[in-house]
Symmetry: C2
C-alpha cells in the first residue's frame, strides 16, 4: 500500500509528466504542476527541492524501470541470442508503459544537451546499459552462441541505437509502423548478422 | 557566387542555428537572432515571414542535404549491399557537416511533437527516406543480393532507426564511442543478417 507521502509524490510526478509533455520542461512552472496535482507549493517543496530535482526523479524512475524490465532474465541460463530476442519483445512492454509519456524522452535529451546535471543523470544509466549489453555479448561468444570475431561493444551500441531510434520514431510518428514488429524484425536482422543465421 | 540577398539569408540562418542550439527554439527570439546576425528586423521579415518559417527552412535545407548525400549513388548500378555500405560511410560526412548543429535535430523532434506544421515538415521527408530505402531493398531482392524472404519495409525501418539512434546518441554523448565506426559496424551486422554473411 502507498503511504500518504508516496501518494502525494505520485500525484506530483503524474502532473509534472503531463505538464512537461504538453508545454515542455522550460514552460511548465512549479505553480502549474501544483495546481494540476492539487497540492500546495509547501507540499511540493517538501517532497522535491526544485523542478529539476523532480524532473531527475521522474527520469531515474523511468530508466530504472527499463533496466529492470530488460535485464531481469539475464541470469536465467538461456543462450544469449534467446535473451536478446526476449528483450526485443519486452520493448513492446516499455512502449506501452511509456505510452503518452514519450515526449518526456525527448525532453530528457534536450535538457541533457543543455545542463550538466541532467546530462550526467542521462549518461550514467546509458553507459550502464551499454556495459551490460557488452558483457552479454562477451558471454555469448564464450558460450559459442555468438560468432567469435564480433566486437561486443559495437553490437551493444548497434542494439541500443536501434532501440533509441525506434523509441524516438514511435514518439514522433506512432502510426507509421507497427513499432513492436519493427523492433522484433530489427533485433532478428542483427542477431542473424552476429550468428550467421544460426540463432 | 552568393547574391547579397542569399548572404543575408545565410547570416540569419547561421545565427538562428546558434540561438536555437544554445537557448532552444522557444527561448530564442527574433530580436536575439537579428542582433547576432547583425540584420534589422525589417530585413529579417523581408526574408522570413516568421521564426517558424525560418526554422522550417533550416530543417528543409538539412533534410534535403542528407537526402542528396545519401541517395546520390543509388543509380550507379552497384549492388544494393554495396550501396548501403557506402551510405553508412556517408553518415560520417553528415555527422561532420552537422557538427555543432546537432542539438537542432532534437529541437526538430520536440517541435514536431507539439506543432502540426513542423510535424508535417519532419514526417514528409522521413516517409520519403523510408520509401526510398524500401525500394532499394526490393531492388536488392530482384537482383539476388538480398535474401528473398526479407521484408523490405522492416529492413528500411531498422536502418533508419539505427541512423536516428546513432545521431541522437552522437549529440548527447559524442565521446562515448567512435560513432562513425559504430555506424559502419551496425550497418555491417544488418547487411550480414539480410544476406546471410554473403555481402
Amino acid at each position: 500500500m502507498q503511504t500518504r507521502s508516496e501518494t502525494t509524490q505520485n500525484q506530483i510526478k503524474a502532473a509534472a509528466i503531463n505538464a512537461f509533455c504538453q508545454s515542455g520542461y522550460d514552460a511548465a512552472s512549479v505553480a502549474d504542476i501544483c495546481e494540476a496535482a492539487r497540492v500546495s507549493k509547501g507540499a511540493f517543496y517538501h517532497h522535491f527541492p526544485s523542478k529539476q530535482a523532480l524532473f531527475l526523479t521522474i527520469m531515474e524512475d523511468w530508466l530504472s524501470g527499463i533496466n529492470q524490465t530488460l535485464f531481469s532474465a539475464t541470469n536465467s541460463g538461456k543462450p544469449v541470442p534467446e535473451l536478446i530476442k526476449e528483450m526485443g519483445n519486452t520493448m513492446g512492454v516499455i512502449f506501452r508503459a511509456a505510452s503518452g509519456q514519450l515526449p518526456m524522452f525527448m525532453e530528457f535529451m534536450v535538457q541533457a544537451s543543455r545542463d550538466a546535471k541532467v546530462w550526467s543523470a542521462v549518461i550514467a544509466p546509458y553507459r550502464t546499459y551499454h556495459q551490460q549489453f557488452s558483457s552479454l555479448f562477451d558471454k555469448g561468444k564464450q558460450e559459442g552462441s555468438i560468432l567469435p570475431d564480433i566486437d561486443s561493444t559495437h553490437v551493444a551500441h548497434t542494439l541500443i541505437s536501434l532501440a533509441v531510434g525506434i523509441l524516438l520514431q514511435g514518439v514522433v510518428d506512432p502510426v507509421a509502423a507497427d513499432w513492436k514488429q519493427v523492433t522484433n524484425a530489427g533485433v532478428a536482422f542483427i542477431l542473424d548478422g552476429i550468428t550467421r543465421g544460426e540463432s
